[in-house]
Amino acid sequence: MNRVGRLVLGAVGLVLGGLAVVALREATLSTHQPVAADSQVEVVVEVESEHRERGQSEDELIEALVLTCRLEVNSDLVGEIELLPPGADADDDALYRAVLQPAMDQTNRRQFRGCLEDWTIDQLLVDVVRFEDIA
């Protein structure tokens, strides 16, 4: 490959790298919108926990996770976190429901979901099943 070809290839790589960094910046940039103070959002999560410490129940783990993650957004937990009745399949993981107020804008929604599904608490894996405004 001659010198010009190398230069062109390097320039293309540089442009692609720059575009990737800009795209990632846009994806992780916080852009908040106003939200009604009395609005509420419902979050239903599927919880799987393995090898947890003796004496620590799954209810405590999911409560700790929600309370930790709500610190990253402007919403507070309303009421208790409910354990939903099991589905038809007995092997399904437990479902929990939490209500937070006020509701979240798009950025907070992504941030809260990311925190819940992240490896925030050991031995606890969470999948967000439903994330909807209810009021």
Binding site: A20, L24, A27, T28, R110, Q111, R113, G114, C115, E117, D118, W119, T120
Partner: protein
Amino acid sequence: MKTIAWLAGIGTMATGAIYMVVSLNRWEWNRALFFGLIALIAEVGLATGLILRRLDRIEHTRLDPEILALLRDTRPTPARRFRWLEDTTTQMNVFITFLVGGGLILSGLAWVADKVAANTSTPVGEEQLARQLGVISYPRGGLLVDEITALAQDVPGTDDAQIRKLLSDPRPPE
């Protein structure tokens, strides 16, 4: 086997990097850190492998015998700094000269050292001995009392038990 190792390394690095970007996009920071660490470890491993492979190639590069012979032929003649030793292995002229000269120099140095030591140690030693003897020497004038002191014992009011003891005077003290 090497190909499998290289592919595994590249695949690990690419997968780690992709999942890191995906986790960042999902705001999952702990996962992003973990996958970033995996990608970094794979990258360091690949870089080390590349460097080692390069070093191996350099070490095993075959030498051109013609170039090697040319270099050997044009090697400069080493300087013969001790050629006089080779010429005088059967004669002692230079060695004798060095031996006698060195002996003379050493003897001269020894003579100078002896003179300097003698002229510095003797006066200092005498002064030190005088100080040590001064402590145990007799008092000046001897141990006996002089006549004036002896006669003064007869003066009324004068009484020295030590002097009377030296004079063997049996009188009791006043």
